[in-house]
Each structure stands twice: as C-alpha cells, then as structure tokens.
Symmetry: C3
Subunit: 261 residues, 3 copies
C-alpha cells in the first residue's frame, strides 16, 4: 500500500479564526492519515498576486503527488469557478481568479478541470466558506485516489493573473513589470526572472526612484542605498542592507516597475 499523497494548504484565512481548523477536520474525516502541511495562512487578505507568487515559489520542491489547496478568493459565493490544475504529477485546487497563472505558466504541460461534481462536496455548502465545503473535501477525495477528471469537465480558458517577465542579457530592452511580494524584511520581490547571475548594467525604476546597483548577497551591499539582488527563486529583488526597502521606497504589492537592460 502506498502512502496517501500529502495535502498542502495555502490561504489568506489567518490563524486567529477557526477556518483552517475546520478544513483540517474535513480532510481528516474523509482521508484519515493524510499528512496535512501548512504552507501559510498569512497571505494578505484577498491579495491574489501575493498568493500566486507564494504558491509558485514553493510547489516545485514538494514530491510528485502533492495536492495543493490554494484559497485567496474574494469572489467566494459568486459565480466564479473552482479549478483543478494537473501537471508534473501535482494537483492544484483554487478559485478561477488568476491565482494559479504562475503555476500553469511554469508547467511544461497541464490539464485544467472545472470542479463541479457535487458528489465530492459537503452536502450543505455555505455561500461564504467554500474552503470547508468544497476545497477541503475535494482535496481529500483526490488524496484517496479520485482522478482530477472525475471532478468536472476539462477547460482551456481561465482567468488570467500576474505573469513573470524573463530578462534576457543579450540585448538592450525596456521591460514592464510589477512587485509580487514584500517579504518579512521589507525586500521587494519583482516578477523579473533572471537566469543565473544578474547582469551588471540594470536600471530599475520604481515610482520616481532609479536603482542600478547589483550585488550577489545582501552582505556585499552598502547600507541605506537600495540595490538589486537575485532572490532565491531567481526573481530580481530590491533590498536595502540592514534596512526596509518597502518602507524607504513606499512600495506596495502590485506596483508597476520598469527595468532597462
């Protein structure tokens, strides 16, 4: 007997409300023994951009088979669809609001199913808490072996979300991008993806500020001056050594930026 695939939870529910606890109960009741892992429940409320970044930067480290439940869902209770993305051996459940765009982009091949087979839902469905009544039971059934194709019909279209911008070193160009995330230390994570070392001739604009210094680690930079560094996921970050770049630069998630190579 193979072990049950694990279920990883990513939500904006926080831990001061009973929502996550209820979901864990529903999963355990349907699929006893399934390991449940908290990715985070501290996504900023209703911040789809941050949630999508979070999922993208974690998922690829998990073993094939893992089922991701991703809930940043301002449209809960409206007509928005619930989707199941399948690819690279993973399954991703989430609302159809762009949250899974980065994941879909990163998968060489994927199939997307609408989640509509009420057989795998709880019998009564609260209009405000699909996490407990739809996402959790569907994830548990997937973990027990239900194939994604049983959840509903296949679909090609889905609501678009934030995308990554691949930076090429070879030719001079101006790229349009945005801030995906601000981390605990105030570092700004952009959607500019740089393979390998950062080119040294970059010029990033954030509002009226121009940033051009690049370093390989935080420790090499001087204090107070914002600089660019390749983060641990390959995205260009804006940082201030021993400082808080987000506060100093008055930046916010979703803000537009440009990069000249």
């Amino acid at each position: 007997m193979r072990a049950r695939p694990m279920i990883a939870l990513l939500t904006d529910f926080g831990m001061s409300d009973p929502y996550v606890g209820s979901m864990k109960g529903v999963i355990s009741a349907i699929a006893p023994g399934t390991p449940i892992v908290d990715l985070s429940h501290e996504v900023l409320p209703q911040n789809i951009t941050q949630g999508g970044y979070f999922l993208w930067s974690c998922y690829k480290y998990f073993p094939a088979g893992t089922i991701f439940v991703c809930i940043v869902d301002p449209g809960v209770g409206t007509g928005r669809r619930v989707l199941c993305v399948e690819g690279a051996g993973y399954r991703f459940l989430g609302p159809d609001n762009g949250l899974m765009q980065l994941v879909v982009d990163s998968l060489a091949r994927s199939s997307i199913f609408t989640v509509e087979n009420r057989r795998y839902f709880r019998k009564e469905i609260s209009p405000t808490f699909h996490g407990r009544d739809i996402f959790a039971p569907v994830a548990a059934h997937l973990s027990r072996g239900v194939p994604a194709a049983s959840l509903g019909s296949r679909t090609k279209s889905f609501a678009p979300g934030e995308r990554l911008v691949q930076i090429s070193e070879r030719r001079k160009r101006l790229y349009q991008g945005s801030i995906l995330h601000i981390d605990r230390f105030g570092n700004l994570i952009s959607n500019f993806l740089a393979k390998g070392r950062l080119p040294s001739n970059l010029l990033l604009h954030l509002g009226r500020r121009a940033i051009h210094q690049t370093f390989r680690t935080y420790g090499e930079a001087r204090e107070k001056t914002p600089f660019l560094v390749a983060g641990s996921s390959g995205l260009i970050e804006i940082s201030i050594r021993n400082g808080n770049a987000a506060r100093s630069l008055h930046a916010r998630i979703g803000q537009a930026i440009t990069l000249k190579t």
Copy 2:
C-alpha cells in the same frame, strides 16, 4: 492495527513562545506517530469566550476519535479542575472555566471526568505550565488507548460558560445575546443561532446602533452600512462590505447585544 487518534491543539499561547513546541515534544515522546494538528494558538490571551467559540465551530468536522486539547486557562496554578469531556466519539481536555460549555451543549450525550490521576501527568508539575505537564501527557495517553474513565471520577457539575441562543422565526420576541468572536476581517460573530435562511424582519442592537438589513452573502450588501448575515456556522454575523464592522461599531468580544424578531 488501527492508526492512533489524532490530537488537535487549541491554545492562547501564540507561536512566539516555546510553549506549544514543548507540548508537541511531550506528546510525541509518549505517543510516537500520533498526528498533531494545530487548530490555532492565536486565541486572544485568556479570552475564554473566543476560545470556546473556536472549539465549537471546528470540532464537529474532525473524525470520531479525535482528542482536543483546549487551553485558555487564566486560573492555571490555582485550584481550578481539569476536565475531560467525552461525547460523539470525541474527547476534549480543558480547564473547568466554561471553555467547553458550547461543546457540551452541542453533544446529544456526554460524560465528564475530572482529570486527577497523576499517573498520566509528568512527574514534576510546573504551577504555571499545565499544558506541558498535565494536558499534553494526558492527551498522549488517551491517544494510546487509556479510557477517559481512568483519568478520574465522573462529575456532573462544571463551571458555566457562554451559550448559544436559538432564534425562532415563528414568534416575535426579544433575545439577549453577546459577541463571541471578531474575525480577521472585522466581522462580529454573535451567539444567535439561526437555522437556515435569516428571517428578514430582524432588528439587532449593539450599543446605540440598530442594524436591520439582512443579506445572504457579503457581495449583495451595500458598502458602509452594517448588515446581518448567517455565517458559515449558522451564527448571525454583523458585517460591513469592504469595511471593518468591529472598528466602525467599536465592538468587543463579550459585548452584550439584543435581537428583536
């Protein structure tokens, strides 16, 4: 061999202190392999009302057999008793301070035992940390198969706590209630339980404010005006669309409210 029942933890310890970690260690040492689930450790410090609501709204989704450790315990180190409530296949460990009132009320039948058999405690008991020295080891022993009746003598009486108020649509009446919880979004969760759809003729008073609009989902309401909605646990909530009802209405957990039907 059956899998060990899981242990679910609910405390007001927060995660910036080593208390929860120590409890997990004690449980794992006595009952290796027992799955430990965090319901939350973010109950407001010493807020029994909120803790009791939290437990009540989660527990019923867990599989039978689950052991709940519930610690919101301002009386730790005094003479207050520790109780084990057994019902519907669950076991609940908590201090005798009203924390488990809602759970007991919701169980068709329950037995309550005082937890006093020191055989299942740690040998040395800190007067300030019963979570590690009493609750955790007792839960671990329950998980290993020790019956609740071995923990101590049966009791009928226990300290009372907040209770739910069942609203009947059929006749006009004035109900006295209170705020059980304020969620991450500032929604106020009352102790008024409404089966099914909310009646349309409600009038709720909170301090000097009167609230009478009712909606089925947050999305149907207008902005800025507080309204009533049936929450995902069947309790009436006071909400402001795209706003923070708790802040706008200066509400606090435990505050008295009235409802006219």
Copy 3:
C-alpha cells in the same frame, strides 16, 4: 521497519513568506512520510539569543531521534560554518553562531560535526537561502538514516553564545546575567537558573530598577509591582501581575541584569 525520526523546525522566517513552505517541500521530497513539526517560525529576525533560548527550552521534551533544524542565521551566504550537534540521541542542525550553545551546555556528552558534504545538499545553492538548499535536505537525509559523521569532519570549537548562570542558594554572591526572551505576556525570562524553589532574599537589578519580591505563582503577586518567579523551565522570570513587565520596565532581549543572593 521503524518509523522515521521526526524533524522539528525552528526559524526566524515568519509565515508570511514562502521560505518555510519550501523547506517542508524539500524534506518531504527526500524523506516522504517524515513527520515535520513546527516549533516556531516567529523568532525575532536574527535574534540568536532568543532562538537559542527557544531551542533549549523545547528540545528535551521530544523523543530521542528527533532532528532539530534551527535557523537564525544573519551570516547566511558568508563563510560561517553549518554544524550538526549530536547528543542524547538528538541531532541539531544550525549555523555556527552561538545558537546552539545552551543545548551543547545542557548535554552531558556531545559530538559536533561540520556540515560540508555537498552530496547531501541540493545541487544549486542560493547564497541567501541555505534553509532550503542545505539545512532541509541534510535533515531529510539524517532522517533517512545517514549518520552525522557522514556530513563532515568532527570539530571541537564553535562560536560561543549566551549561557545560563546557575544560582546557588548557599552563599551570598553577585551574578551577572541577561534577558533571554520576552514572552507574549511581557514576562522577562532571564538566564539565571534556579533549581527548585526561589530563595526569598534575591535582589535583581535591571537598569536602575531593583526587584526583590518573589512569588511561586503569578496569582499570588500584587498588581503593578514587578516580582520574580521561577518559570516553567527553571529560569528566573520578571513579571507584573495583569501587566506587561517588558513595557513597564523598558526591557529588551539581551539586556544586562544582575542578581544578588
């Protein structure tokens, strides 16, 4: 077949960034089925003193075999070593910055290895995220049975950290100490270790404040006046009943204190 040893995580990463999630993925991919326990991810950023206290006060309750991953690592990406401490059946992975001093002091015997065998690292190593690329995979391999001695060469020296000061009741003396931690309630945890009951003749100085009252539990003290109490780990704490000692006394972690017996 024996169950895999569990892996306990202690970091200053917080839960609003994808760092912890990525580590859990790496561990699960290498050692499927290994139980992962969160001790905390809320250590104050880069606060080695607090992290070391946290680890020390938790670890001894875990079952032998447990692997602790401890990351409070301001020197990540510089030349600082990574160490594996082995003792009492436990393994501790952490940076060589004093974080594990209290643990080493508390072990009757221990062996320390430098973690340098790249065979157990991820292939590409981000200079800013050793948690994912070194600590997580090494812990997973330990859990699968790799012996600590395979990680690198044995070492005797390591960077020193905060230490405990054992208080003796028998003779009058002046002790130099410091604040290790401030808990959720504002209690100050010192590094003065008192076996058993607190002597009644203590005089503690914190800045210009002198504190001499001692009580056995919080409940016995009067409000507003700071007092001393033996905490649940045997360390002397400074507390104010129904108050916040840290705020009232303007204390901070690492602050020097003295104790006269």
